[in-house]
Symmetry: C2
Subunit: 131 residues, 2 copies
DNA sequence: CCTTGACCTTCCACTCACTGGAACCATCAT
DNA sequence: ATGATGGTTCCAGTGAGTGGAAGGTCAAGG
């Protein structure tokens, strides 16, 4: 299977697939002409990676998850630990963003948004507290 | 005023301050020995930048906001437009993260987390849908 | 006067996960 | 033979800094 076919099937850009080979996440075979020859197992791995990345896992997390996926003697606790840790980081990031959102929404609401120069947004950035 | 003093007053690392000069956000003077000589106005700008960055504005947004801050004939609508756009992006990112959070929390809840290999997290990554 | 230590300077490399583009080879239809 | 459409490699850039090396400057202490 050639790379653009795999790209379609796995839902990843060809560039990304080459990159994943570069960093050792997949190891497709090679045809005699130098083209990558993907097996079904490669496509499955790529689809796995696509889903894991879509859930926000880092590449290194993906590498670990892929290894656990391949390891039939894994302990589900190891998988869960990775997922829980990632979930914690997602929650933290959401909290950060919500704080920004609250502050910003407040400032935007207070700004007239006309052609006069007075602006509570700039006023706050110029003198407000830094959370 | 030397850089480490400014770093303390503005709440930014010295490295970051040098970087901000590099990309043209501030233009401190120079002493005869080559040291940066910061005026109060530089410190105010840096504090402004620190607050804007803490609200998640990109460097380019910060550049625009700083220019508006300096421009006494600005229209507050211009400021508000930048802030509203940024707010929209924050909201989008929160929504993305919340979707991930929901999926992940669900998977984590379903995973036994013991030393058996069965794992709904891996199962979902291996075959689940990609949102 | 000399040294020590704390500053300051520049510059280069690295982060993360790709993405764009150039230059070049392979295959197939016309 | 030519053109279109694949594929390949490698280099450079993204955002917003951060780490570190190599070297200049300054004030205090011996």
């Amino acid at each position: 299977m050639n790379i653009s076919h795999v790209a379609t099937r796995a839902g990843l850009p060809a560039k990304t697939i080459r990159y994943y080979e570069d960093i050792g996440l997949i190891k497709p075979l090679r045809d005699s002409n130098g083209y990558r020859a993907f097996r079904d197992s490669d496509v499955h791995k790529l689809a796995f990676l696509g889903r894991a990345r879509a859930l926000g896992f880092s590449i290194e997390d993906c590498r670990a998850l892929l290894a656990l996926w391949e390891d039939k003697a894994r302990a589900s606790a190891d998988v869960r630990a990775i997922a829980e840790d990632h979930l914690k980081q997602i929650k933290a990031k959401i909290a950060d963003l919500q704080a920004m959102q609250a502050t910003l929404a407040n400032l935007v609401d207070c700004c007239a948004g006309d052609n006069r120069p007075d602006c509570p947004i700039l006023h706050s950035l110029g003198a407000g507290p830094r959370p």
